[in-house]
Amino acid sequence: MRRISTTVNRVLLGVVGVVLLGTGGLVLLGGLNLPAKEHLDLPAHWPWSRPGDVLLSAQQRTRWTGQGWWWPSVIAALAVLVLLMLWWLLSQLRRHRLHEILVDSGDGEGATLRGRALEGVLAAETEALDGVDRAGVLLTGRRREPRVRARLALAPHADPGTVVRRLSDEAVAHARRSAGLDRLPGDVRLRAVKHRPERVS
C-alpha cells in the first residue's frame, strides 16, 4: 500500500516535471532564436520556433470554439483533472494504517486481532529492550500480510546492530508467532536521543 503510493507520487511528479521541462525548453529554444543560430532543421509544425512567435495566438485559442464538442470536452477534461488532483492531494494527507489482522487459528475459524493492540504490545516490548529509549510502532500492509514500521529512539550507549537483531529476534518474532503469521516484514528507523557527553577521564 505504502509502496504503491510512493510509486504514484514519483510517477506523477515525474510526469509534471517532464511537461514543465519540455514546455520551458521549447519556449527558451524559440525565444533565444537557437534554431536559426545553430542552423537546426526543425519539422514544419514545430511550435515556438522563432522569437517573433507568441505563446498562444487568438487564432489557435479559438480554433475549435465554434464546434459543438469543444466546450463539453474541455469541461470534462478539467473535471477529471480536478478530481484526480483532489484524490492525489487527499492521499498525501491520509496515513495508511492497519486496523485489524486476520489470525488463522487453524481450525477453520478465523479471528481478527486489533491492529492497535498488536502495535501497543510491539512498542512496549521494544521499549523494554536494552538500549531503546522510546519506540513507535505502526502496522501497515494488508490484513493477511501486515508489515511493521518502527521508529526507535536509541538511549545513550546503545549498540544499533544489536538493537536491530534483538528487535527482530524478540519483539517482532513474538508478535509474528502470536498472530500466527508466516512472516512479518518491516522497516526500522533508528534515531538517537540527544544527550551530553559523559567524561570518563
Binding site: L13, G24, G25, V54, P160, R176, P185, R189, R191, P197
Partner: protein, 221 residues
C-alpha cells in the same frame, strides 16, 4: 512447501526466488510484494522517501489552477462574463513575443522546476538515513546520521586523554575532531582510531564509513 503453514517458525530467507511462494496455494501474493520491495532498492539499499510534501504541493497548485479554470469556463457557458484574469491572460499570451524577458524568465523557471521535479521523482531522498546491514531476515533497518554520530561520540569519549570530541558523519565518512589534554597526541590518535573503528563495525551499516581522526591540544588561556 506444503507443510509451510504448520511450521510458522521457519523463516524465509530474503532470497529472490519466488517459486516456492508461487507454488504454495494460500500464499496470496507475497511474490509481488517481494518484487515491489526489491524494486525500491533491495534489502540493504537506500530508504526511499514517499515524497509526500512535493506531491501535496504540486497537487494543490494543479488543483487550484484547474479548479479556477473549470469554474470560469462553466461560468462563461452559463452566460456570465469571464473573469478579468482570463481575459488578461489570453491577451498576454497572444501578444507577447517569445523573446520578451518575462516570457524567457517564465520559460527558464519552468525548465528549472521541471528538472527539480524529475530529480525528486528519481532520487531516493532520505539522505540522513544510513541503511544498515541486513542482519535480520525480514527487517530492513536504517540509522539516522545524527544517531550514528552520537554513538561514535560516546565511544570516543571513553578513550583516555580525550577532553571533548566533535563527530561529523556524512554519508560516506565519519570525521572526529578531538581535543586531548593529556597523553601524547599520537597515542590518543591511535587509540581513537581503534575505538572508533570498533564503533563503526558495531553500527552495522551496509556500507562501512571511512574514518578520519583529528586530535589537537586545547587552546591556551
Amino acid at each position: 512447501m506444503s507443510d509451510d503453514a504448520q511450521q510458522p517458525d521457519t523463516r524465509r530467507l530474503p532470497t529472490l526466488d519466488p517459486a516456492p511462494d508461487a507454488s504454495a496455494e494460500g500464499a496470496g501474493g507475497p511474490p509481488d510484494e517481494a518484487a515491489t520491495d526489491t524494486a525500491g532498492g533491495g534489502r540493504a539499499g537506500r530508504f526511499w522517501s514517499a515524497r509526500r510534501v512535493p506531491a501535496a504541493v504540486v497537487a494543490l497548485v494543479l488543483l487550484a489552477a484547474a479548479g479556477l479554470l473549470l469554474y470560469d469556463v462553466v461560468a462563461v457557458r452559463a452566460h456570465h462574463p469571464a473573469m478579468a484574469w482570463r481575459r488578461w491572460l489570453a491577451r498576454e499570451l497572444a501578444t507577447r513575443h517569445l523573446d520578451t524577458p518575462w516570457v524567457l524568465a517564465a520559460a527558464a523557471l519552468a525548465l528549472v522546476l521541471g528538472i527539480w521535479l524529475i530529480v525528486l521523482a528519481v532520487t531516493p531522498g532520505l539522505r540522513r538515513v544510513l541503511p544498515m546491514r541486513p542482519t535480520a531476515p525480514d527487517l530492513r533497518a536504517g540509522l539516522d546520521r545524527a544517531a550514528a554520530a552520537l554513538v561514535l561520540r560516546d565511544r570516543a569519549m571513553e578513550v583516555a586523554g580525550v577532553q571533548s570530541v566533535r563527530m561529523k558523519v556524512s554519508r560516506r565518512k565519519a570525521k572526529a575532531h578531538a581535543v586531548s589534554h593529556f597523553r601524547g597526541l599520537d597515542e590518543v590518535r591511535a587509540d581513537l582510531g581503534v575505538a572508533l573503528g570498533e564503533g563503526l563495525r558495531q553500527l552495522g551499516l551496509a556500507h562501512r564509513l571511512g574514518l578520519t581522526v583529528h586530535v589537537r591540544r586545547p587552546k591556551k588561556r
